[in-house]
């Protein structure tokens, strides 16, 4: 695998050493089966187990909780390198880590951290984040799933849609409302474990891309969960999930970055195989793709560095995610243009990245929502 990646001054030698380890793993365990995984829509459970042996299902979590004890930038680099070979594996890792492992670490009680983080970090258990509903996408505060307190338990009724890892997840963080009239101020975050009576994944989505990634509908029918499974305080759920999404944006940006890099890799290979580098049109296309990847990389790494300095990333995360996701669409589209009809077949990964990349503009906050977030950060509400 050629290293034609643009270096960023934002990563240290330590990070680059880690990257090389991840790349070696990806070349051995992911790239050879990436295409087959997509065609057969196989959830990458085996790959996750292998990653778990390195504690890579808990990269930014301290070792005392079973994590790899690395920083957010390392985690971003991992998502990037996995996504460069397989968007499905990238998003599985990103959803599990940013949306489940991280919020339990930052908002969970000590008991919850001890209970859930080690098995999540080792890949023995998989995590899912149940926020989105049929009528609560961009308007996450319009949650209709209800939680009613009853004698030491909460009884949950409702359903969640488009939940990454939902069918396979063992540990699910989800949101439910105590009082819909209070909108975001009436929402709590909870953990439910797979196998809990009244909780079931019921439907797998048939998606345009990322077909080896599992996206499910979750159904709660009088599901009783103990009050110990509340994450944070009652009615604090909004804060939990907003902070989670702030960080999650960076991981989706990393997913987009990896896919864009993968598309650029494929385009460069195609140009070399077909001896096209003297064409000015080809030169322009490759240059435009390179600039997009470079800019996306710098923005994502910058946001990850800020997070590692414990600064809020509400603005930089949104900027990075919005830019990188749109860049991944441009870059994968240009790769396809460059390859002509060949690029439309699955002999090259270009059409895969193109289909995968579209999700980046939509999931974890559409580009339109990102723009509203950015504007509010810059201008005030």
């Amino acid at each position: 695998m050629e290293e034609n990646r643009l270096i960023s001054a934002l990563s240290d030698e330590e990070h680059e050493r880690f990257r090389r380890k991840v790349i070696a793993f990806v070349e051995e365990h992911v790239r050879p089966q990436a295409k087959e995984l997509e065609l057969k829509e196989t959830f990458p459970r085996d790959i996750i187990r292998e990653m778990g042996k390195h504690r890579w299902m808990g990269i930014p979590i301290p070792e005392k909780y079973g994590g790899a004890g690395l920083d957010n930038l390392s985690y971003v680099i991992a998502v990037e390198e996995f996504s460069r070979a397989s968007g499905s594996v990238g998003i599985t890792l990103a959803a599990h880590t940013s949306l489940v492992v991280w919020p339990i670490y930052t908002h969970g009680s000590e008991v919850q951290k001890q209970k859930y983080l080690p098995t999540l970090s080792s890949g023995e258990h998989i995590g899912s984040f149940g926020l989105t509903e049929n009528n609560a996408g961009s308007d996450a505060g319009a949650t209709e799933t209800m939680a009613v307190y009853d004698n030491g338990h909460y009884i949950i009724n409702g359903n969640k849609r488009f939940i990454t890892n939902g069918t396979y997840a063992d540990t699910i963080i989800f949101t439910a409302s105590h009082d819909r009239s209070k909108r975001v101020h009436g929402i709590s975050a909870f953990i439910v474990e797979k196998g809990t009576p009244g909780f079931n994944p019921v439907r797998k989505e048939d998606k345009m891309g990322l077909r080896a990634s599992d996206t499910a509908e979750l159904l709660f029918e009088d599901c009783r969960i103990p009050k110990e499974n509340l994450v944070g305080e009652e009615n604090d759920g909004f804060k939990v999930f907003m902070e989670t999404l702030d960080g999650g944006r960076i991981s989706i940006g990393a997913l987009a970055l990896g896919e864009a890099q993968g598309a650029l890799d494929a385009a460069i290979r195609y140009v070399q195989e077909h001896d096209l580098k003297k064409s000015q049109t080809v030169q322009k296309t490759i240059a435009d793709m390179t600039m997009d990847v470079s800019a996306a990389r710098h923005m994502i790494y910058h946001a990850a560095r800020l997070k590692d300095k414990k600064l809020t990333v509400s603005l930089e995360g949104a900027v990075a995610k919005c830019f990188a996701s749109e860049a991944s669409m441009r870059v994968s589209s240009m790769a396809m243009d460059l390859m002509g009809m060949e690029g439309l077949t699955n002999r090259y990964p270009a059409e895969q990245f193109f289909r995968d990349a579209k999700l980046n503009e939509i999931g974890e906050g559409t580009s339109e929502i990102q723009r509203i977030v950015i504007a509010r950060q810059v201008l005030g509400r």
Partner: protein, 380 residues
């Protein structure tokens, strides 16, 4: 200048739209999923005269204009882009070159069959090493008594797997380069012809996109079109013409995406109001509509030039294809965006429009090629 459709054109538009909505739309998703070639659609369209609109009536066609064909292809593609391109290829890439360059015997023999879609046509120019540069083709033909013997292969041929009549380009004199290329009409049952690999494409999945193989294929010398060495001219003129329909196909897909977006944006609510009330969404819808209208007008202009018998129209045809395919990609990308997570699933047609749209930017000449054609015309 009158930018409105006349009453005949309006009639065709209404008729094809109704047919497309009732007959083509219900099966569009399934044929995309299975990749199955839509013979049922084709038979119904043949009955309505849609498979030979531009073929003169004396050859069993509709004797209609290129503008009318563009209208029909748009309406069909609005619900099923695969069916739209099959209709286009059968006419402008198969029947049309025979009409324009064939001799009387060829016209009598093949046009009625194509017009009624008793057999379908396909256009065999592209090869593994000759895509954007068709002059580099390697398939060759050698005259041997009463037959030409063809050897070589073609790739990415729309309708290839199901067609019965093929317009094939081969070199009869390698020394002369593109001036040594000749055009032949080849029937599926000629000895030495076979259909090879069926391509599994990201979009336009139900078009039997296949490889064509020629192994000492015996073609009667009567099936040479025009003279030896005229093939490249025939190819370029035919491609110029087909760009009009491909532009119409792209406009159709875009229109379908926009109509779906308009409808959904009125129904879907966030924060208590339908999303069509948000300026960002309105901006997208307006942008779509403007680009689609501009593209459609370019398509009509090129089609009208053809109908007026204007010989030099390749710049306008390239502009139409370029603008329409880019307007199409823009529209479907924003349509999926408007549908949000739902738009990313196969439950909604916009997901299929997205994959079909990307093909539009690439086949029949990538946008880069269209711009080269336009630039050459500007600088000539």
């Amino acid at each position: 200048m009158d930018f409105t459709l006349d009453s005949d054109q309006k009639l065709i538009q209404d008729m094809v739209r109704e047919f497309a909505t009732n007959e083509l739309e219900p099966v569009a998703e399934e044929i995309d999923r299975s990749g199955e070639f839509p013979w049922t659609n084709i038979k119904k369209m043949a009955e309505l005269g849609l498979m030979g609109m531009i073929v003169p009536e004396k050859y069993g066609g509709g004797g209609m204009s290129f503008v009318s064909l563009a209208i029909a292809v748009e309406e069909i593609s609005r619900v099923c882009a695969s069916t739209g391109v099959i209709v286009a290829v059968n006419q402008t890439l198969s029947a049309y070159p025979i009409l324009k360059f064939g001799d009387d015997a060829q016209k009598q023999k093949y046009l009625p069959i194509l017009a009624k879609a008793e057999k379908l046509g396909a256009f065999g120019l592209t090869e593994a090493n000759a895509g954007s540069d068709p002059a580099a083709l390697e398939t060759h033909a050698k005259l041997d008594g009463d037959h030409y013997i063809l050897n070589g292969s073609k790739r990415f041929i729309t309708n290839g797997g199901e067609a019965g009549i093929f317009i094939v380009f081969a070199s009869t004199d390698k020394e002369k380069g593109h001036k040594g290329i000749s055009a032949f009409i080849i029937e599926r049952d000629f000895p030495g012809f076979s259909v090879g690999k069926h391509e599994d494409l990201m979009g336009l999945r139900a078009t039997a996109n296949c490889e064509l193989l020629f192994e000492d294929c015996k073609v009667p010398k009567e099936n040479l079109m025009g003279e030896e060495g005229q093939g490249f001219k025939i190819a370029l003129h035919t491609i110029d013409t087909s760009r009009i329909d491909i532009g119409a196909q792209a406009v159709g897909i875009a229109q379908g995406a926009m109509e779906a977006s308009l409808k959904y944006s009125k129904e879907r609510k966030t924060f208590g109001k339908p999303i069509c009330e948000y300026e960002m969404i309105q901006s997208k819808l307006a942008e779509m509509a403007t680009r689609i209208d501009a593209a459609r007008l370019l398509v009509y202009r090129a089609a009208a030039m053809k109908d007026a018998g204007i010989e030099r129209f390749s710049k306008e045809a390239a502009m139409a294809k370029y603008m329409a395919s880019e307007a199409c990609m823009y529209s479907v990308r924003e349509a999926v965006q408007i549908y949000g997570g739902y738009g990313y699933t196969k439950d909604y047609a916009v997901e299929r429009f997205f994959r079909d749209a990307k093909v539009m930017e690439i086949y029949e000449g990538t946008s880069e090629i269209q711009k080269i054609v336009i630039a050459r015309n500007l600088l000539a």
